[in-house]
């Protein structure tokens, strides 16, 4: 444990950020498994460009980051609401984007 602390102590891990990265890794693995089980095809939804499932996932993640930033910058509400909006947006993107 001391070795672990000496090597990674400087990274100042918290449960919240640890959970955040595990979620991202989990989502990426899920997307990979989905892709292996059922390869995607390019298609055109409501987005102005043709996208694959992976593209829409990336767009979803990037816009989720900006939704959170906008929520923090513009409102005083709890951050959970931003998470909810981002999740809903991600689902919409993956299904109809």
């Amino acid at each position: 444990m001391t070795w672990l602390h000496d090597s990674f102590g400087w990274m100042a891990w918290t449960w919240v950020t640890g959970g955040f990265f595990l979620t991202i890794v989990g989502l990426l693995s899920l997307m990979t498994i989905w892709e292996l089980a059922q390869p995607t095809t390019e298609r055109r939804g409501f987005l102005p460009i043709t996208t694959t499932r992976g593209d829409r996932f990336f767009i979803g993640l990037l816009s989720a980051a900006f939704i959170h930033l906008a929520w923090l910058g513009l409102t005083d509400g709890a951050i959970v609401w931003a998470l909810a909006i981002a999740a809903a947006w991600m689902a919409t993107l993956l299904r109809y984007g």
């Binding site: 990274m11 100042a12 918290t14 990265f21 460009i49 990037l62 930033l69 910058g73 951050i79």
Partner: protein, 290 residues
């Protein structure tokens, strides 16, 4: 080109992945960790949630710095890309002059950032600089340490001096790759110089211009050393670009939390703009091939 589906290609990517992950993912994770905590030194951290993000997003100085940064990158691209294309069109195509011109053009590219700063300090100062002194003789009070406008002119001029040759070299070799038959066809059709450029040369240049625009955008958006050496971000905050503010917070003031939150926002902005550039350009490329 038709590519073969083969997931074992990942083994060829692995070394790159491990190497870049070591210097990108681990530090990025640390930045995210710092951004939600307050540092008391000696490894003592207190969780503060999204407080830093809120204060950074509300910080007027950063809005100004972002505005300056966008203006700077916009200016630099608006000058360097057209200028670079024009110079590339005037370069000779054969003879002993070609290697000479190319070598002279490439020279500024390999000057270290801080030396570029030193060069322009020496060049623009009123007392000892060729540019500053000449302007003073012409009756123009040029003083980049006091006048924000002059500081801006110096910084933009410096970047144009340093990086336009990159655009020129990229475009020049792009132009060289156009088969002579294209030009002959244009001459037979009686195409004007402009028409030749618009319909033959420009389309062929798109690939290299993509690289030029992306590289120049990325590098100008993270510019640090050159303005830091010449103006130190001043006068006032006139040339205080994002990287200068960030380095000041992170290294000089050691405000780890706010600096980390700032880093993440900075990175996300760059990521968004580059993704839009990249997608737009590759989509246009694909549409043309069809």
């Amino acid at each position: 080109m038709n590519k073969v589906q083969n997931n074992r290609a990942w083994f060829l990517i692995l070394p790159v992945f491990v190497l870049v992950a070591f210097s990108a993912i681990i530090p990025l994770m640390a930045v995210v960790n710092y951004s939600v905590q307050d540092s008391f030194g000696g490894g003592v951290w207190i969780f503060v949630g999204t407080e830093w993000f809120e204060s950074v997003l509300a910080d007027e100085r950063l809005h100004d710095a972002l505005g300056r940064q966008l203006l700077f990158s916009g200016l630099v691209l608006a000058i360097q890309i057209p200028l670079g294309v024009m110079i590339a069109l005037t370069l000779p195509t054969r003879g002993w002059l070609v290697p000479l011109c190319l070598i002279v053009l490439a020279l500024p590219l390999l000057v270290p950032f801080n030396v570029v700063g030193t060069i322009w300090q020496l060049f623009a100062r009123v007392d000892i600089g060729l540019l500053g002194h000449t302007l003073a003789d012409l009756g123009i009070e040029f003083n980049y340490t006091d006048d924000p406008l002059h500081a801006w002119i110096t910084v933009v001029l410096m970047d144009v001096w340093h990086w336009t040759p990159l655009v020129v070299l990229l475009c020049y070799s792009g132009l060289r790759a156009i088969p002579p038959a294209f030009y002959q066809a244009a001459r037979i059709d009686g195409a004007s110089r402009y028409a030749t450029f618009r319909y033959i040369e420009l389309p062929k240049l798109r690939g290299v211009l993509t690289i030029a625009v992306l590289l120049r955008f990325m590098d100008s958006f993270m510019i640090f050393t050159e303005p830091f050496v010449v103006t130190g971000g001043g006068p006032g905050n006139a040339t205080n670009f994002l990287s200068i503010v960030l380095t000041n917070w992170a290294i000089e003031r050691r405000d780890l939390g706010p600096a980390a939150a700032f880093s993440i926002i900075y990175f996300l902005i760059v990521l968004l703009i580059c993704w839009m550039f990249y997608t737009a350009i590759t989509r246009i490329g694909q549409a043309d091939k069809r």
